[in-house]
Symmetry: D2
Subunit: 468 residues, 4 copies
């Protein structure tokens, strides 16, 4: 039900006899990062195999696929679900043949100069069969005379601006690359003799792999016959980790940017409680996005936590609504307020963010219908005001409620009795509280403050992009 959609999840396995099956499990763990399409490329003695398609991981793969996806090397990708429609050709990984042989690549992030790069490539005779940034990177690689990918990459990535985490297969090697800002997470681990990479460490837990470290911003890791080596792109002054990974995108059981996500969210809620206390009987969460922060708010404030909504786990992505008479039905079928718990109570409801505000408004209305005496809305992040150009599918600015209304107007619009947002300094302070080495300057907060560390999209007219 969340109104923001990241992105993509990527993973890679090198040196394990069931590499493609592990990639499949990894995609399961990363499914929250993308539900539109899924794909795996494996490599068996130099021969690559691919299976990809639209839908959830479980829709795309069937048991027989893994014997076809043979080899001890594999990469996987999941892509988020647009409302607009399905474009099977955009499913990743991309597998191509070029002057130096076969290559496969999967990408999480968003390039801000993709239009310019594409224009230049087409001018030189390239054709494009997809609209994903991965294809641009592959084209740039194909135009390098240097056959060694790790060298060619240094040249290619100097031309590319924006956010990217890449996993690639070439010449039987696994490559893992992260942009110099470190916008998106990418972690490195070990599973016995095998090396593994994934967007989030929760994939390691399912594999039973050990977390080793983050792939560093600007690092190009090559895993080749059990050996691992790194080279580095020229560094920038500050990292720019996406703070929204901590707020919402990442799974609470992941380590992201070296930070324990659940603990960070709990700290956001605690700080929020100090910044915006409430005189109330209960603290409830919008499940599941507000869970950790709500618990932090409750434990800091002493106001008891309660389960305010029952979530219906059987509602898939669609249900039939022929009448369309009741606008709340789509929300209510997934989240039903627990009348017995709420009746007559002054309720603090905690969520991670407000984007358009429409869902939040319906939830508040449901709480009042269920008998809540007062509804105090608390948001565990600052007002979401600016579009993201680094890999999040944000609505147009004019549809971001915080870019059009004051906080007071938002509260009125939502019919909340009070509304409090976590401040940016509070947010960054809470992170530092969990991990003192982390500096405010290490984070991209562009969606809150409009400071874009890697620039905006080249084409001024361009909407925030939608590729993972």
């Amino acid at each position: 039900m969340h109104e923001l959609r990241e992105q993509c999840g990527i993973c890679g396995v090198s040196g394990h006899p069931q590499a493609s099956y592990l990639a499949y499990l990894g995609l399961f763990s990363l499914q929250h990062r993308g539900q539109e399409s899924a794909g795996i490329v494996s490599c068996d003695a130099g021969k690559m195999n691919i299976q990809k398609g639209m839908g959830l991981v479980n829709d795309v793969f069937s048991p027989n696929d893994f014997s076809a996806l043979s080899g001890d090397l594999a990469i996987g990708h999941t892509r988020y679900s647009t409302t607009g429609g399905s474009h099977p050709e955009n499913a990743q990984p991309l597998m191509v043949s070029y002057r130096h042989g076969q290559m496969a690549l999967a990408h999480n992030g968003n390039l801000v100069n993709s239009d310019e790069l594409r224009y230049n490539l087409e001018a030189k005779g390239s054709i494009f069969q997809t609209t994903v940034d991965s294809e641009i990177i592959v084209h740039l690689l194909a135009r390098e005379a240097e056959p060694l990918v790790e060298r060619a990459l240094a040249s290619v990535l100097s031309q590319v601006k924006g956010s990217y985490c890449l996993v690639m297969i070439k010449d039987g090697k696994l490559f893992a690359v992260r942009d110099v800002y470190g916008f998106r997470p990418l972690v490195l681990g070990r599973l016995g003799d095998a090396h593994v990479v994934a967007s989030e460490s929760c994939a390691f837990d399912l594999w039973g792999a050990q977390y080793v470290r983050e792939i560093e911003p600007g690092e190009i890791v090559v895993i080749d016959k059990g050996e691992i080596r790194s080279s580095h792109l020229p560094p920038v002054k500050h990292r720019a980790h996406c703070v929204f990974e901590l707020i919402y995108f990442a799974r609470p059981d992941s380590l992201v940017f070296g930070l324990p996500v659940q603990e960070v969210r709990h700290a956001f809620g605690a700080t929020l409680s100090k910044e915006h206390p409430a005189d109330a009987d209960l603290v409830i969460a919008v499940p599941d996005s507000g869970n950790c922060a709500a618990l932090g708010y409750s434990q800091e404030s002493g106001i008891p936590f309660a389960f305010g909504f029952t979530r219906n786990h059987y509602v898939g992505r669609t249900f039939i609504d022929p009448l369309q008479s009741d606008r709340d039905l789509g929300v209510k079928i997934k989240l039903n307020p627990v009348r017995q718990t709420l009746e007559g109570k002054r309720v603090v409801i905690v969520d991670d963010s407000i984007v358009r505000g429409t869902t939040t408004k319906r939830l508040i209305s449901l709480l009042r219908d269920a008998g809540a005496a007062e509804v105090h809305l608390r948001i565990s992040s600052p007002p979401y005001t600016w579009p993201c150009y680094y890999g999040v599918d944000t609505p147009m600015r004019s549809r971001l409620i915080a870019s059009e209304k004051t906080i007071e107007e938002i509260g009125d619009f939502l019919h909340a009795d009070s509304l409090g947002y976590l401040s940016q300094s509070g947010m960054l302070g809470a992170i530092k509280g969990v991990q003192p080495q982390m500096e405010p300057a290490d984070f991209c907060c562009a969606c809150f403050d409009g400071n874009y560390p890697a620039g905006k999209c080249f084409s001024a007219a361009k909407e925030p992009k939608k590729e993972g």
Copy 2:
């Protein structure tokens, strides 16, 4: 992941132009009561229409079905999922033609004398095409000369023993019937001019209907052209509400037996904390079955509540496990322990019950792997020792861990640092605490104490039955 499977969910709508669509929404709300099959019969000016099939509600119905399921009267049914296999002929409602016309019927519960009834019916020339109890009830009705169903029912139900909630359509009327013990829940509501019934009140919330009252034990309700009338079967001394509905089966947002389920579970947890305190750092739940009780335990004990597991919402009923090498994978893919939260902590983990013990054992092992220093298991119900004959799919007695082992042995088997079960008196006392009119004698606790208020199954050799 729960090892017990109830049952069925039933609902009915009379006097609403979108009766079948409301039944569809109702089944969505009742989906937790049965995932094997779903079906709806509607009645339009005396003509009945049916759609049923194997799978979840969303698998069985498509948008076009509702124009075919016309009429202002409808009943719906969901059936639980057996491991054994799919038997499409057992999907309900049953729609038959007999001497007095067409009739449709759906049933939640289990008859204990079904073998005897079936034997007698076959001896008189009846044929059976299913193995569900509904067919027995229909046969009995078909052998009554009395054409008026409400009169015929009194005779039929005097022959039938066990638990049953029924919804029926006959002659354009909606019938709702509950056995004299009131084992299973069945509630009555209003939606504008329409009358509605459902297994649980959470269906009313989705409909926007008002809760009126429970259908009483032994009550036969007839809803006929907007009029509602009742007759009553001869009463028994004590009701016998299934206490496990409160412990696990019902949705926390439902009112069941007039009791707010979430509050009751919270009270179970609080009482459990008093009966079995623990010296620990955190209280966590097995999601979602242990959520409410864990919160109650935490709030009573003062030990902080935490989210100990992250639940993967994208895992459907199956995932591919070709290796079968890792027995824990099936658990781990759904529930991943949050290492950062658990590491070095003494943890109280709360669940509603232990059936075979295998899943619980794996969860405890996962917690230890994730760094928990101590694991104290608390169960918000007494030891599950006896099979249910009244509508729950219980394993054979020999597979119920509590019927084979002492509590100490169970704790050892599970590798828990300590184990505490809520006592039966504590459980019933907690209920009374929430609703003082409720007496211990009003509940069936057969699975805990072996006292079967409506007898056991006729056939001594018979396994606990599996029909909803």
Copy 3:
């Protein structure tokens, strides 16, 4: 494209380790007799297994089904496709449990007193879950005290009127029964030590089985542990083989009523040529229903045979026609006239029958558009004037063109340059020419002459029935 739809195909195998797989192959061979649903019941050491569903044989069965359908005894059924809709509950075989155990039964034919029988059964307390005649027969059996099916059948079948071929499983025995008139075909064969029965001998060819003989009209065959025995119902004066099996329904490679179907159709065409010669350049067939007769017409008349239409084998039962602008599209997409062959030619076109006339009219129009100079229509059977009550899905009488118009009016309506029907005496004479023992009185020609050997349907108001 034919406007008449029979019926059903049945088969049975006893004493073969792959009985259910052979039944599957048999249903493939009998698929032309019914495309709506398919089903198989097997029997393994007294335990019965069933798989049935809507659609073609290939839609209903998957490779894994045959290990579940274990046992050396099996029966199969295919049902024809109604335009009306799908009623999964009507798929056969029916498998029921009754006083004497489990039984499975499949039926080809139509009972004329089914309403009366059903009324009486319901009055005695029977319930009906389907609308197929098989269920009536099963109910009658269930009311017999006699446990031995072969004895009980004699009593049951004395109450039943109309056409029926049955295959049944009970007590590990295979039963095959044919009504006293022998309306529908049913043949007996051997495959090594196994005994087999099928509606048509073409199933034997696929099995590699040997044709033994027809099951005789009124014969009850029991195959029990490799032994075969027969009993007989009281005989009637004349058999009444459905002559339309020879004209259209049966496959040309089958032996039906002991007659080689393709040869009989060839003889119909030859006789038609003598009765209705034409001054023409080419003889063409409506594929495939007119093929054999057209060749007979050509070879008797000396007018060369040609392929006048190309049939598109890739058109399934549906294609998308959003415009509905071109009424001929549905015909044209399946059959395209071969302009180069037809242009400027005087053409005799042969089909087996005219029912409503609409398709024929379109075909003639297509021939003229493709340049045919003259179109002489010849029909290898008499005018189809009366509905069938014995197992063919005939339109209402008022929609049968021959019951509303004279032959001259039909020719005008169809825009044929001439029209000739084979006479009834010519038709029966042609049969006798192929097989001299066959007498005209041995055939049911009710659809041509209105003489119904087993009466009409009991309910005067009743439309011709639609069950197989």
Copy 4:
């Protein structure tokens, strides 16, 4: 069941409001040219839409697709079915974006210098996402600075060798191109104000379009806002129409190379009868590939034609054969010999060609089992000895029975009583008999005589290619 698989079917529509729906119907008519995948690109005011996928036309398109495929311009493609596996990325048309905008292209044929072209393109930095020749042509176009496609094409096609028919969309124009040899058919027609092109004229019949003429060898047709203009590639000395289109690939109701296919096949059969008479009772065809020639043989020889096999139209591309015990089952389930017609007869069986010989051997064996006294095999083309490099999926040379055995040895291997092939001169003479302007030199007979008019594949090691 034929052992040779062409190729592809292509079609295009310009200037019709239902262009994509017409393309869909066209693909239905061309389905015999390719059953692996199907696709359509439409163009609506400059915006292109695509729908493609694996399977038959009916599998790939659903009714809602045509509103998405809006516009008055569309091209369609069907691709043949390999046994090897499914490669969704190879489905056509290809739709790409390049320096001059968007373009879509579909191709029927095979380039012999594709390896060389691909090598050169990759060396210049091109990447390949498919293995189809279309992608090579698109890359070549993308490297032309000339924005006008019709000019760029002249340059591109001068680099390309082999067989190709192309339909393309660019800048709202429809392009149709045929190689200078005219290997594959491509015809031009009109439907009211719309212009249409298709591989075979049978598509025109379904559309109700008028046949105008062939696209000439070497012609580039541009259809632009209702105007049609042509340019021409430098001509070669002789055309090289694929004679196998006349023998087998094309539908009998098509005009191909200006020749009426059915009449040509009839003439092949008549000539075959003169070259290889037989003392026999019946002439039968292998359905449907031998139908027309068998009729020609019969009518020339005076030996009566008969239907020797009944074809089961319900067998799709697969049926379940778990036993694999009976090698003939796959043949027998599709074609059952008609014992009553064949028994004791001396039979001439006519087919269009023998490739590996395995299927033919089984058919002859089935005829003998069905009682044929003698089996005389007649083939309406010369021995198939050389692989095709121009668009037919031929087996390796070593598996072509005629390249390994003498005719006598083939006859022995097949257990035929006699075997006769149509001579190459007889074949070409028969064509000239139908259309006197046609010269032997106008045809490619490489599969019979090894004379390859456009050379063999560049890579000596290369197997005959498999793309359409």
